[in-house]
């Protein structure tokens, strides 16, 4: 078990006074039984918004809703949260063979937030891309389980792609990033989700955070100073969902803190509305996660 203090800061500066608008922020760590617990959180906006509210969206992600008054020249959002992350035991691979997933999905009668039915078809930001499907096909060997195929595809992708900030933005399509062979965690995750779906594996896009400093003796993970993203593959009704981080080519562990899962970036984008979180605007964000007691 790890206990983290998380600090997120998002700030905007405007050349001209902004118009009024509404914003959604998907930034709060989730509470997931057996895995993660949000012990406390504090969201502050400066200047104070006209309205501030919270709701849980269809996919189960907590959303902070704010009305931004007109005439601002800057806006700053701060989140302070305390999160408990339980390490999941590494056990036997209980995921199903990929070839048997089809009937399993067809029998599914749930439309809840984590139903595989939302995740096996192309989505708005992750359409079917021939090149990605062809690439993913190389990860499938007869009889392989979902976990095996997921790891193999993740390693292949990690070899194929170079991590590079600034080369892509939030609207770069998986096809573009794949062809250019570079991108950030969002690109890695969206390409991998598309690849898994092309193999018939339901896959979601997970937004979250990564602890900033590694435990002693371990390597610092890539993407730790910003919001992070990885994938979640469905291994059948018995195993459920399996998290994999293609940017770091590893299954996720106690270093990964969940915000939420959606069909693609659009469902869990940290900032939606008039303002967004891309290089075009003046939006900047920073993340700092320390283990409680670390300082």
């Amino acid at each position: 078990m790890s206990l983290y203090n998380l600090r997120l800061q998002i700030s905007y500066e405007f050349d001209r006074p902004s118009g009024a608008g509404r914003q959604h922020f998907r930034i709060l760590p989730a509470t997931l039984p057996g895995r993660q617990r949000l012990l406390g959180s504090l969201v502050t906006l400066e200047p104070e918004p006209g309205e501030l509210g919270f709701f849980t969206d269809f996919f189960g992600t907590a959303v902070v809703e704010a009305a931004i008054p007109a005439g601002l020249t800057r806006l700053e959002l701060r989140l302070e949260a305390e999160v408990e992350r339980l390490a999941e035991p590494e056990g036997l691979d209980l995921s199903m063979p990929v070839s048997q997933l089809g009937p399993e999905i067809a029998q599914c009668r749930s439309l809840g937030p984590t139903s595989p039915l939302h995740y096996h078809l192309p989505s708005r930001r992750i359409p079917e891309v021939g090149a990605i499907s062809d690439f993913a096909a190389g990860a499938l060997r007869p009889g392989d389980s979902v976990a095996v195929v997921t790891e193999r595809l993740g390693l292949m992708l990690h070899d194929h792609m170079r991590f590079e900030t600034g080369a892509t933005d939030v609207d770069t399509s998986p096809a573009e990033a794949f062809a250019a062979r570079h991108g950030v965690c969002q690109d890695f995750a969206q390409i991998m989700v598309g690849g898994l779906r092309s193999l018939g594996i339901p896959a979601g896009y997970v937004a979250g955070y990564l602890r900033t400093l590694p435990p002693p003796g371990q390597k610092r993970l890539v993407g730790a100073d910003a919001m992070h993203a990885w994938v979640r593959a469905w291994g059948g009704s018995q195993r459920g969902w399996i998290d994999y981080d293609p940017t770091n080519a590893c299954f996720t562990g106690a270093d990964h803190i969940d915000v939420g899962m959606g069909r693609d970036y659009g469902d869990v984008a940290p900032v939606t509305g008039m303002l967004r979180l891309d290089g075009q605007q003046e939006g900047r964000h920073s993340v700092d996660i320390t283990e409680a007691g670390e300082g």
Partner: protein, 803 residues
């Protein structure tokens, strides 16, 4: 569809409708001729009426109907498939002969449709609630997951009023056995109810209501009850009710504007609305006013870019949030379109007993969802009767929108492969064979396929079925030619009772507890459009006057080197007009902008005013193709000037002096003052040609008064006095500014705590300067400065009232 009567011969002779040769199609039920081959008794009065019509009578009857539709400007927009998104105006394709339905038949049908509406309500509540139908295996999950019409953000949001659906329509037809069946459910944002009413008015103009008199069911009660229901759904009695429209380029915009006017509720676009503290607010010229009930005619996915389709530019961010917080009732909520999914029809018959405890009273078109192995076998077994189309499509069976494919066009192997490959992505439906009804085709009564659109509205006493609707009439005997976008027509539907029915119309009733917006609650966008309509019309008039003066002079003196022409040409060029062109593109463009602004105001504009403006636009475009410079042009321009005066007169004489009129007039006065300041500055400058002074008098329409006052001398001083400083000359700058000052003082919050609004302050300073100016101080530089200051006033008005 045309009702053209072109039979030659004596106009007083009885018209031959060719009834003797009327033959229903083999094996197809017909409204006029019963299974026994005899005329149905219901139709006898109609036939008797037609039998005595002369050719001239019939021509007049048809003209009366068409004239009504033309004069009322009843149009729909047809999407131009070649151009992609563009759409063009089309007159309403009236098929003049109504479809007659027996009241007893209609009563049975109504009960069945109410049952279906109840079923859809329960299914909607389940789909956006517990999803029990999926969990228990009554409905395949994949009909929802992956369905673009299923609005996930709406899941879990219970409607404030307790009901999801408030207004639905059904497309129905008669099957081969003569019984009704449902072809499609329309729950998203059903269109056409307003057209049904206009169709009724037009049809009764052709074949008078006296034909069936009090036995004919009226439509008005349906609308009255629905309006009362809309008003009763308000949680805050001070809040407004409005129709949410996608705007003037939508195919049924005319109808939306018409309904808003008829029901006395506001017509709003997404940009008119904003969200504040959990409520939906309308931006008006007097600030934000709460809206409590919205009749949505905008595609649900476009309603809120924040939570629904982020690409929408027509929506209002936060709308879903207001629904979530119970701050609004929406007819119908976003996501209602999921019920229109074609594959749903395969399951509704099975869902009915589960959800309502009873079997469906009325079948829908036989549908198989190919995700099911037994359904695929059934399709293989009856391939010759099957049409394949996308399972999640929502088009009407004959719309061809979803590329339907006849199963019989594939070999059995190809069909099996297709079914196994696509499975749940496909549905198979039985080929639609529609019954026929008599239609007037080139003067002859001829059987044509028909389907009916029937409307149901929720009211205080439950679902009400409109006692009528409209029928789509095929252009040919091919049932797929029913779609209006492909030449089909629309006929009225008359429900005939054996007894007297009560009746009333909405128009004649006192407003009572109506939702008519208060005078000061003009939406900001409407005010903006009115202001610019005034400006563009006046700007057009200035252009026409200047062009006419130029061509009048060419007519008198030839195109030789008149020095004055240089100055008029410069004025024309600075207004963006090509002097070489008698009716330049820039003028047509300005008139076009006036039409565009007026088009946005159809809900608050008189039919006559609109017709006059359209006529001006058409004439200008026609003349632009024909006229030659000189006298010909001058005469054409005079004709346009009279048409402009006609429009202005209609507005001035007929528009109620509410706040909207004030913005329109402010725009006109501002533009008129600007025009005059520019003319005077350019043409009365000491450096300019002396003929410029006479030209100004002509442009200012002040020849008579000038002669009376100053005999023949036209020095600069008197002309500036007359056209700039005279408060009584309706063309003078001073007169405009005085008039604007009077109007601006009457705008909302013109004076707050003894402090004038910003536009009023700026205008008052200008008014004072003009009142104290003399012809000597008001030189060309000062006149140009007046132009600039008028522009600043316009900007201040925009900033204060149109944002």
């Amino acid at each position: 569809m045309t009702g053209d009567v072109s039979s030659p011969g004596d106009p007083l002779a009885r018209h031959d409708f060719g009834l003797a040769g009327y033959q229903p199609l083999p094996g197809v039920p017909d409204e006029l001729i019963g299974p026994d081959g005899q005329v149905r008794p219901l139709w006898q009065p109609m036939l008797d009426h037609l039998a005595v019509l002369s050719i001239a009578d019939l021509t007049r009857a048809i003209e009366r109907a068409d004239l009504y539709l033309r004069d009322s400007g009843v149009i729909y927009r047809q999407y131009d498939t070649a151009a992609g998104t563009a759409s063009v105006e089309r007159p309403w394709p009236l098929s003049h002969l109504p479809v007659l339905i027996d009241e007893a038949d209609w009563t049975r049908l109504s009960a069945a449709l109410i049952q279906r509406a109840d079923l859809l309500e329960l299914l909607m509540a389940d789909i956006y609630g517990p999803n029990r139908m999926v969990a228990e295996g009554h409905l395949p999950a994949e009909l929802l997951a992956g369905n673009p019409e299923w609005a996930q953000p709406m899941v879990g949001i219970a409607p404030r009023s307790g009901h999801f659906l408030h207004f639905v329509a059904f497309e129905i037809g008669r099957g081969p056995d003569g019984q009704w069946w449902v072809l499609a459910d329309r729950t998203e944002a059903p269109s056409g109810a307003g057209y049904a009413l206009e169709t009724r008015v037009a049809t009764t103009r052709a074949f008078g209501p006296q034909l069936f008199g009090p036995q004919l069911h009226r439509l008005a009660g349906f609308f009255r009850e629905f309006r009362d229901h809309l008003l009763s759904m308000r949680a805050d009695p001070a809040a407004r009710v409005a129709i949410l429209t996608p705007g003037p380029w939508n195919e049924t915009w005319y109808e939306q504007a018409w309904l808003a006017r008829y029901l006395g509720i506001s017509l709003v676009q997404g940009e008119d609305l904003t969200v504040e503290n959990g409520r939906l607010m309308l931006r008006t010229v007097s600030g934000l006013k709460p809206l409590d009930v919205l009749w949505r005619r905008l595609d649900g996915s476009f309603a809120d870019p924040l939570e629904l389709d982020p690409a929408s530019r027509l929506g209002t961010p936060g709308l879903v949030s207001v629904l979530r917080q119970g701050g609004l009732s929406m007819v119908n909520p976003p996501g209602s379109g999921v019920l229109e999914t074609r594959a749903m029809m395969a399951f509704l018959p099975r869902l009915a007993p589960v959800l309502t405890g009873a079997e469906l009273m009325l079948p829908n078109i036989a549908t198989w969802w190919c995700g099911d192995a037994t359904a695929r076998q059934a399709v293989m077994a009856a391939a010759d009767r099957m049409i394949l189309s996308p399972a999640l499509g929502t088009g009407l069976p004959y719309d061809r929108m979803d590329d339907p494919l006849a199963a019989a066009s594939l070999t059995p192997d190809a069909l099996r492969d297709r079914l196994e490959r696509d499975q749940g992505r496909l549905v198979a439906q039985e080929v639609v064979r529609l019954s026929t009804t008599p239609a007037l085709v080139e003067g002859r009564i001829t059987p044509r396929p028909m389907s009916l659109r029937v409307y149901l509205a929720r009211t205080a006493s439950g679902w009400k079925v409109m006692q009528g609707g409209f029928a789509r009439i095929g252009a040919t005997t091919d049932p797929t030619a029913l779609a209006m976008q492909r030449g089909g027509g629309a006929a009225d539907v008359w429900i005939i009772s054996p007894d007297h029915v009560g009746g009333d119309t909405l128009m004649n009733r006192p407003a009572g507890q109506s939702g008519t917006p208060e005078p000061d609650e003009l939406p900001a966008r409407a005010a903006d459009n009115l202001f610019w309509l005034g400006r563009y019309v006046e700007r057009s008039e200035g252009m026409v006057r200047l062009l006419r003066a130029r061509h009048g002079r060419i007519a008198e003196s030839g195109t030789g080197s008149l020095p004055l022409l240089d100055e008029t040409d410069q004025l024309l060029e600075s207004a963006g007009l090509d002097p070489a062109d008698p009716i330049p593109e820039g003028l047509l463009d300005t008139i076009g902008r006036a039409v565009t602004a007026a088009a946005q105001l159809r809900d608050r504009f008189s039919t006559d005013g609109w017709a006059a403006l359209k006529d001006l636009d058409k004439s200008a475009r026609r003349l632009a193709q024909q006229v030659t410079p000189g006298d010909d042009a001058a005469q054409a321009l005079s004709a346009l000037l009279r048409k402009l005066a006609g429009f202005s007169g209609l507005v001035h004489e007929n528009m109620y002096r509410l706040i909207g009129w004030r913005f329109l007039t402010l725009g006109r006065m501002q533009e008129r003052a600007r025009n005059m300041a520019g003319w005077l500055a350019a043409l009365t400058d000491p450096e300019a040609d002396p003929g410029g002074i006479d030209l100004c008098i002509e442009l200012g329409d002040s020849v008579m008064i000038h002669r009376r006052r100053y005999a023949m001398s036209s020095g600069r001083g008197p002309v500036i006095g007359l056209l700039a400083l005279d408060p009584l000359n309706p063309r003078a700058i001073r007169n405009q500014v005085d008039g604007m000052m009077d109007l601006i003082r009457m705008l909302p919050e013109a004076l707050v705590e003894n402090r004038l609004s910003a536009p009023a302050r700026a205008l008052l300073r200008l008014q004072t300067d003009l009142a104290t100016a003399t012809p000597e101080t008001l030189d060309s530089a000062a006149l140009y400065a007046v132009q600039v200051r008028l522009g600043e006033v316009s900007d201040l008005i925009s900033e204060r009232y149109f944002r």
